[in-house]
């Protein structure tokens, strides 16, 4: 396997401006020292509650926004590794087609005035596929890939259901054969019965095309069905990253344990013993000292209030940001 993406010490701080002169009164540390890698053909999920920085991280990687510091090392088609973080718009343009995005809302992400052929064909046109028959052929190929009849070519988005629209969004993302696709909550706006179809489609496409996915989601059940590895974020930092089975079955960070215990299990005979977290998610403009999670942590000690734990690998591929990681025995959710 080849490494597609290598993110190192990524930071994104947004200034808070106040007063008449818009002086900088502080910073929202939305992403604060995030590092991870993605291999080709792999799905890494970023999970966490709203405001944890998972979407900001994905937007930095796509360079929709410029990170404050850190490296985003991306392996291009030609096999060279380029750090995307410092690049200007002009330098990024040739790289953009290699990284694509699938959006959450299939209703607002498709232009209602364009036909399906135009929507899926636009990235081709922009990237130099001028010949219209070649373009139509490719669009038909893409429709087949996402299992939509090619008879739909000249219809407009309003004629499609949410699930079909999401297929169109996926076809558009795949038009230029990207090696990395960022999918931000791609199934959370869909009905359950349709969600399953899209999850399966993403698994199939990955097997066929070897795409790497960065999957941003809050729903841990969906994450379990799509990911090879999972990174849990809290207040701008990765607190735990591990292969999917290890993360769900033997979590090592108290926040992961609490998050897993809060997921409702579709079985009334297993009404869970939830760990109800007190209080709210830490405010990224006013983060607590020490471990950001300590005010809500049931295992916190005095040391947690002052020591900032580093992300430490405790078993191969399983890293945790907790000073008590090796001494605690936490509860996960075993596969049935």
């Amino acid at each position: 396997m080849t490494r597609i993406l290598d993110v190192r010490a990524l930071r994104k701080h947004f200034p808070i401006r106040r007063g008449l002169l818009s002086r900088i009164a502080g910073h929202v540390r939305a992403v604060d020292d995030v590092s991870f890698t993605i291999e080709s053909g792999e799905t890494l999920s970023l999970v966490g509650e709203s405001g944890c920085g998972k979407t900001t991280t994905s937007r930095c990687i796509l360079r929709a926004i410029k990170p404050t510091s850190g490296e985003i090392r991306f392996r291009t088609e030609s096999g060279t590794e380029i750090d995307l973080a410092p690049l200007e718009a002009r330098q990024l343009r040739p790289l953009r087609r290699q990284m694509q995005m699938i959006f959450q809302d299939p209703f607002s992400s498709l232009n209602p005035r364009m036909t399906i052929a135009e929507i899926i064909g636009e990235p081709l046109l922009v990237n130099g596929v001028i010949d219209s028959t070649a373009r139509t052929r490719r669009v038909e190929e893409l429709l087949e890939l996402v299992q939509l009849p090619s008879a739909y070519l000249n219809r407009y988005p309003h004629a499609f259901s949410g699930g079909q629209r999401q297929r169109i969004g996926i076809a558009r993302a795949l038009a230029l054969n990207p090696s990395l696709v960022v999918a931000d909550e791609p199934v959370s706006a869909l009905d359950v019965s349709v969600q399953a179809q899209i999850v399966n489609l993403m698994l199939d496409l990955q097997d066929r095309l070897g795409i790497a996915f960065l999957f941003v989601a809050h729903d841990l059940s969906v994450v379990k069905h799509v990911s090879h590895r999972v990174a849990v974020m809290y207040a701008g930092r990765i607190v735990e990253i591990a292969p999917t089975r290890a993360l769900f079955e033997t979590p090592r960070h108290p926040y992961t344990e609490a998050l897993l215990s809060a997921v409702p299990v579709p079985d009334p005979r297993r009404r869970s013993q939830r760990i109800v977290l007190e209080g709210d998610v830490a405010d990224p403009s006013d983060l607590p000292q020490g471990c950001h999670f300590h005010p809500r942590c049931r295992y916190a000690t005095e040391a947690c209030k002052t020591e900032t734990p580093p992300l430490t690998e405790i078993t191969p591929g399983h890293s945790v940001r907790c000073i008590r990681a090796t001494e605690l025995t936490l509860t996960g959710v075993p596969a049935q």
Partner: protein, 330 residues
Amino acid sequence: MADPILSVQSLNTHFFADEGTIRAVDGVSFDLYAGRTLGIVGESGCGKSVTARSILRIVERPGRIVSGSIILRRSNNTIVDLTTLPTDGAQMRAIRGGEIGLVFQEPMSSLSAFHTIGNQLQEAVLLHDPIGKKAARTKAIDLLAMVGIPRPSQRVDSYSFELSGGLRQRVMIAMALAAEPHILIADEPTTALDVTTQAQILDLIRRIQQERNLAVMLITHDMGVIAETADDVVVMYLGKEVERGPVDSTFHAPKHPYTRALLRSIPSVLAEPRARLATITGSIPHPFARPAGCPFNPRCPERMAVCETTVPLQYDVGHNQATACHLYAA
């Protein structure tokens, strides 16, 4: 079991649009009991929210209740059919919020940004019980404390935008309970919230239900939430009640092919990593393109000829479980 506090019988709520009639709620019946939670589950367009709005008589035009009854046993032990009351009349206004509390999905858009939460709570208290401003403020603080808002005597003067989503939903619950209703209708109360906050809110609803012996009607699309909270379940599809029964039977002995397919297709934290999901073919039909016969027949793996022509009746399948499916015709 005691008598139901609210009984919905053969409810039909239709929308009369220019393009045709949408049968949003198409013959739904169920009972609510004190101290019990009825879960109503279904995907978009199944009519679960319109059912709730019908009970509260807040169905918007061009929709209206076409037939059926909604029998409420009032606190003074009289019986009233809500479908016969004028929507804006004094009686209905006393019932709405007074005897039936309501919690919506969107706590941000349901609270005013121009009034403090204390003001809004006081208004809710005074509307149903004119105890005077001072006493109402004290009660507002008590309500905030009851729903677990820290430092309630200070928070009473904050505005909704100063609160997090979880706290806002707690305020919504406090408002719904201000007039001490016997019934709480919660329409997707946790859908906009994170899982950890969702767990807090579901625990809160459960605790208050126990304290006040409330009848709760919980509307959701999330089978996990149903499994965690409901005593009884109604599964809806395109306005029809396809299956009804105790929660354990719904999950462990589902009868309707839709319920079975839905349960198989939900992602679960208990699954093997990267396990493919069972799918239901096709998608939910547009309400104007509703199939003849059983509404689920085009997607049903067990479709028979009769399903394409005849709407199935509700069949009793034992242990308080019933299903609308031709497979169970005797």
